[in-house]
């Protein structure tokens, strides 16, 4: 397929996505489920892609994503809650003088949130990245839990408001903001993945020792991947804070990391488009399409068995286990969405797509 046609098709796809968003914005009420799912989907897409950068592309199995999101979300909340609302938020313990008069606009605040998360990643990265696969996973998970406990602890009460959490966080200015932020951030991540840094990440994933022999500075490259991933996780956390409007330390449990990890796995480790597609799918089915499983249903006078509160999550986790066990490559494997493949499929030349996949 020619490059020009591909460009046209890509533009067409982007145009369609924008048109879809505009239609949704025009036609649905502000409480509509579709809006919720799309907004949350875009936030999760960003976080999932940032986790994929680390787990799928660099081969570092991190379980600290919720911790970095918490750092981002809290930083964002602390520096954006309007000055006159601060008294109400911190009514119980009082506000720390250092943050009393700070209320930044949203965009710089989000960048700062990302930077603070990245700083944390940089500080713990140097020691923690020395550990091997599963020890690294446990250490990052430990970090995430420490962050969560410290946020709720009494030592930081004038900054984080302890276990009461923060509220009155400014929300999205328009329906489109989470989409724009996510799209820009994911675009940046894709640029990084396609750069020479991205190739270094993939080399480390395939074989650390060989990568080192080829002249890649292991320690530096790993830290870079960790810091970049945490930066975007921090921004994702900030988006989540805006979306929710109120956060506590229990908003970011280990389970949140698991949720994101499972989105990444369903989408395919090492596929950005896979992560994006699967986060929309997972969020839509979790929050919307499978909701009916939580209510009791009657057909005539016959009560449909099994359906009661909580069944949705059981079904959901069974689906996840099936994906993990039988469709290990997820939706996209480690391929990206490409027009060539679709064209090949339509032309019935399945063979070419297979040989192409092998040559990749």
């Amino acid at each position: 397929m020619k490059k020009q046609t591909k460009l046209m098709l890509n533009l067409l796809l982007a145009g369609l996505a924008i048109a879809l968003l505009v239609t949704v914005d025009m036609t649905t009420k502000s409480t509509s489920m579709l809006r919720t799912v799309l907004q949350m989907g875009s936030i999760y897409a960003l976080v999932a892609v940032s986790m994929n950068l680390l787990n799928g592309f660099t081969g570092l199995f991190s379980l600290g994503q919720a911790g970095f999101m918490a750092v981002g979300a809290y930083t964002f909340a602390i520096i954006t809650i309007p000055v006159n609302a601060k008294g109400g938020v911190y009514y119980l313990y009082g506000v720390n003088d250092a943050i009393k008069n700070i209320a930044l606009p949203v965009i710089p605040a989000m960048i700062i949130a990302g930077m603070v998360a990245a700083l944390f990643a940089f500080l713990i990265g140097a020691p923690v990245l020395k550990l091997k696969s599963d020890y690294f996973a446990i250490a990052t998970m430990g970090f995430s839990e420490i962050v969560r406990m410290l946020i709720a602890s009494s030592g930081l009460v004038t900054i984080t408001n302890g276990s009461f959490g923060l509220k009155k966080i400014p929300g999205f200015t328009s329906f489109y903001s989470p989409f724009i932020v996510s799209a820009v951030c994911i675009g940046l991540i894709v640029l990084i993945i396609n750069s020479s840094y991205g190739r270094a990440f993939k080399a480390i994933r395939e074989d650390e020792i060989a990568a080192e022999a080829m002249g890649i500075n292991l320690a530096r490259t790993k830290i870079l991947a960790f810091v970049i991933s945490s930066f975007f996780a921090g921004i994702g956390g900030a988006l989540l804070a805006q979306y929710l409007g109120a956060i506590t330390s229990t908003t970011f449990p280990v389970k949140l990391t698991y949720d994101i990890l499972l989105i990444v796995v369903i989408g395919g480790m090492g596929s950005v488009t896979g992560s994006i597609i699967s986060s929309f799918l997972v969020i839509a089915s979790k929050e919307w399409w499978l909701r009916f499983l939580d209510q009791e249903h009657y057909i005539g006078s016959f009560r449909v068995p099994l359906l009661k509160s909580g069944f949705r999550m059981v079904v959901f986790s069974v689906v996840l286990m099936v994906v993990v066990l039988f469709f290990r490559r997820g939706i996209m494997g480690n391929n990206e969405f490409s027009w060539d493949r679709i064209a090949a499929r339509f032309a019935g030349r399945k063979k070419t797509s297979e040989t192409e996949a092998e040559s990749k």
Binding site: F61, L131, A137, S154, V254, L262, V314, S317, V324
Partner: protein, 295 residues
């Protein structure tokens, strides 16, 4: 701190530490053989507590029969999980098995929420275990006293099993070299099932001892103790049973004393910092073996 309160805290610490030790052994044995962090172990521990409630409250079965039912149920659960979720992935990369373990943990938590609701359920009290006894100045409930004794007994039995029986020899062989022991005619699947059975048996015993002095069980009750016990296993050197026991005791004692000094909200933070510190300065733990990476 007077001597009596000091002894009191010591006893509490040793008691909770020995429960951690029991669960940590489950982590360490599975890791030793499969090189897998069994993220679901804490949730198996939680399910064992629900089995007890189920047997004693819903079916009114006396405690000694319930106890056997709980152990049997937990072992069955553990072996089923291994067969369904871990066995098919034996030859795939370690990351896949770990993700599968996380999936199982996620599934068990959701299943427990569905079956038993997210609200805490009160744990049945076993009459004689809650009796108060006096040891000199120190008064405590019987369960606090029995726990360490039972743990030490079980650990000795386990060490004997591993060092002096045929199945123990097979376990040691499998943990040393998976492929070679397969070639030597060891039935790997059987060894792994028995390992899971032992781990789950200890988790079931630990669960009864852990929840008896505590008021209630809820679906996430297993995740934090599970993590702490994993830390205990790492601290002692993963793969080593004495290491897991020592790690459990150290974490139990330090946690109790931090709480006693009035910093209870930091006790878990301390445990996690301990984990990261151990991983940084001695990644193989106190008793762990060094492994070298080959190209």
């Amino acid at each position: 701190m007077s001597l009596t309160t000091f002894l009191q805290h010591c006893l509490t610490g040793i008691s909770i530490g020995s429960i951690y030790a029991l669960i940590a052994i489950g982590y360490t044995m599975v890791y030793g053989i499969l090189r897998l962090i069994n993220f679901a172990h804490g949730d198996i521990f939680m399910m064992a507590a629900y089995f007890m409630i189920f047997a004693m409250v819903d079916f009114m079965i006396p405690w000694y029969i319930s106890f056997i039912i709980v152990i049997a149920g937990t072992i069955l659960l553990g072996i089923t999980i291994e067969r369904i979720a871990y066995a098919p992935l034996r030859s795939s990369p370690r990351m896949s098995i770990m993700i599968s373990a996380i999936g199982v943990s996620y599934f068990l938590q959701n299943l427990a929420t569905y079956l038993f609701s997210a609200l805490p359920k009160s744990y049945p009290s076993i009459p004689f275990l809650n009796n108060t006894i006096k040891l000199g100045e120190v008064s405590t409930s019987l369960v606090t006293f029995i726990t360490p004794v039972l743990t030490v007994g079980l650990v000795f039995v386990l060490i004997f099993l591993i060092n002096h029986t045929k199945i123990g020899m097979a376990m040691r062989a499998v943990s040393r070299d998976f492929e070679t022991s397969k070639l030597m005619g060891i039935k790997i699947d059987r060894v792994i099932s028995i390992t899971f059975a032992i781990g789950c048996f200890l988790a079931a015993v630990g669960s009864v001892l852990y929840f008896t002095p505590r008021p209630s069980v809820y679906p996430l009750a297993g995740s934090l103790p599970g993590l702490k016990c994993f830390i205990a296993a790492v601290f002692g050197g993963i793969g080593s049973i004495p290491g897991a026991v020592v790690g459990g005791f150290i974490i139990g004692l330090s946690e109790t004393f931090i709480k006693a000094m009035g910093y209870s909200e930091y006790s878990d933070v301390f445990t996690f910092i301990l984990l990261i510190a151990v991983l940084l300065f001695r990644p193989t733990g106190l008793f762990g073996e060094k492994t070298e990476e080959k190209v």
